[in-house]
């Protein structure tokens, strides 16, 4: 392939991923509202379009037309920059996640991820640790005590849970023997999903993912009764929408990561035994990735509307005294499994 061809194919892949992601984010907000209504025995949005299906577009239109207020006590340049940092980091994380096996289109062998980076998992970890910046800087630059406390809480929380997240991933890397997401998915052939092999790692990773995305029960950074809106208290209009988008994009990335690392990615057990055609197999595999992702996303929303919020000291002691030892134990467990059964 020439440089031009590689550039064009990569551009197309980026465009597809970004548009799918944006569309999923807007409909995720709609589903969150619908599911919450269902949980609380309400009706939910049902005015715009068929059963409220056009509600996300109405929301975006409203946010675009709102006045953009910059508080006079704020640090203007950083206040403007913070939402964009958050958004860019949230979207660029998606570059390494594979949604299907390699496909051959028009004579080109195309991997179904924007970039096949051989240290992809580390790339994801590095970008999630960068994600703290947007929130911290937003909290600091707003010049409001609620924002500042929200920003500081969020960074303390993210740093604490990153430790157990990293150790849970270490278990996955041990099994796959590689840091590339594509190899990790390929190593979970059949029923050898990591969720089956290392259930403890799966649980610690999922809980850390909840904490990293600031979702309930870990949404201390924006606990309404104490902090108004947390780090985005002083944001309005499209800048607020950027934080909102990034939050939901992070949720999608977290669920895509859970699927890739623990639920076998695009693998469907025993699909090669059925004797289907190659095209059909690939389509089913891509479909299975999205079905698994949807299930995890539903779980995220379900938990949010069922469980109350932790207190801050409970959150910290859970992170350091429970999650961290458990994830360390998981690494030992996986090492012993590999030694005994040679997987």
């Amino acid at each position: 392939m020439t440089l031009l061809e590689i550039t064009i194919i990569t551009m197309i892949r980026i465009a597809i991923i970004i548009s799918v992601l944006l569309l999923t984010v807007s409909y995720l907000v709609y589903f969150e509202r619908k599911i919450s209504a269902w949980t609380q025995n309400r009706i939910g949005p049902n005015r715009v379009g068929w059963r409220g299906a056009l509600q996300p577009f109405a929301d975006v239109g409203k946010l675009l037309l709102k006045e953009d207020i910059i508080p006079s006590a704020s640090n203007k340049s950083i206040h403007t920059l913070a939402p964009f940092i958050t958004l860019v980091i949230a979207f660029s994380t998606y570059a390494v996640i594979p949604i299907g096996p390699n496909v051959t289109l028009f004579g080109y062998d195309i991997p179904l991820a924007v970039a096949d980076v051989n240290i992809g998992i580390l790339y994801v970890l590095a970008l999630t640790s960068l994600g703290v910046y947007g929130i911290t800087l937003a909290g600091w630059s707003s010049g409001s005590k609620y924002s500042l406390i929200g920003g500081i809480r969020s960074s303390a929380q993210m740093i604490s849970y990153e430790v157990s997240m990293g150790f849970s991933i270490a278990g996955v890397v041990l099994v796959a023997g590689s840091l590339s997401p594509i190899t990790i998915v390929e190593s979970q052939y059949g029923w050898m999903w990591n969720a089956v092999l290392q259930p403890i790692g799966f649980i610690t990773f999922a809980i850390s993912a909840f904490a990293e995305t600031n979702r309930l029960p870990f949404d201390l950074p924006e606990a309404e009764p104490e902090l108004v809106g947390g780090y985005h208290t002083e944001y309005s209009s499209m800048k607020f929408a950027s934080f909102f988008l990034a939050e939901y994009a992070n949720m999608i990335i977290a669920s895509a990561l859970i699927v890739t690392l623990y639920l076998g990615g695009w693998q469907v057990p025993y699909i090669d035994k059925l004797g289907l055609g190659e095209t059909l197999t690939v389509l089913i595999q891509i479909g299975s990735f999205f079905v698994k992702m949807g299930a995890v996303l539903f779980f995220f929303i379900w938990v949010r509307w069922s469980i109350p919020r932790f207190r801050y000291d409970q959150l910290m002691s859970l992170g350091w005294k429970v999650m961290f030892p458990l994830s360390l134990f998981n690494v030992v467990w996986v090492a012993v499994l590999i030694m005994l059964f040679n997987i």
Binding site: V117, I119, A126, L148, L179
Partner: protein
């Protein structure tokens, strides 16, 4: 000039330019913010040198860990944010002598070292080799560093707890 040269100069400008802004900026949080770009530029240079693992670790440890803690410290000590830091020039003559000597040493080292440059295939990934070396040839240093970090951790905890006695 190949595309790699262009990328190299872009990262070099990013690193040096933001480094200059770190020392000249009057607001300490802005300095910390510019340091983010300096560290980022260095990570980019590592990628160009085909040291992918080092580049990511640079991002994770320095940008994601140390700089965040630095920002944290600055934000929590609220008074420091209001202090205007002196960024003027003082003690010009000793500074010029000192930095001139350092620069001379670095440049002469650069020119005199017999750099090994062999044409060869770059490895696909450096992670495997690095892991092997760390747990065989350099295992003693590796373990000693782990001990050092543990001691630092215990020390920090004991300093933080002293008030309660």
């Amino acid at each position: 000039m190949s595309i790699y040269d262009v990328i190299f100069y872009l990262f070099a400008i990013l690193t040096i330019g933001s480094g200059y802004l770190v020392v000249t900026s009057k607001n300490i949080v802005h300095s910390a913010f510019y340091l983010l770009f300096t560290l980022f530029g260095v990570a980019g240079l590592y990628v160009l040198l085909a040291a992918d693992f080092i580049a990511i670790v640079q991002l994770m440890v320095y940008v994601g860990g140390i700089l965040i803690l630095l920002l944290f410290g600055v934000m929590l000590t609220n008074k420091v944010t209001d202090v205007k830091i002196r960024t003027g020039t003082i003690h010009i003559i000793p500074a010029v002598i000192g930095t001139g000597l350092l620069m001379g040493v670095i440049v002469s080292m650069m020119l005199r070292t017999n750099w090994k440059s062999e044409p060869g295939e770059l490895p696909f990934t450096t992670t495997y080799g690095l892991g092997r070396i760390l747990l065989t040839d350099y295992v003693l240093v590796f373990e000693l560093l782990a001990m050092l970090l543990l001691i630092a951790l215990i020390g920090a905890a004991s300093i933080a707890r002293r008030d309660n006695e």
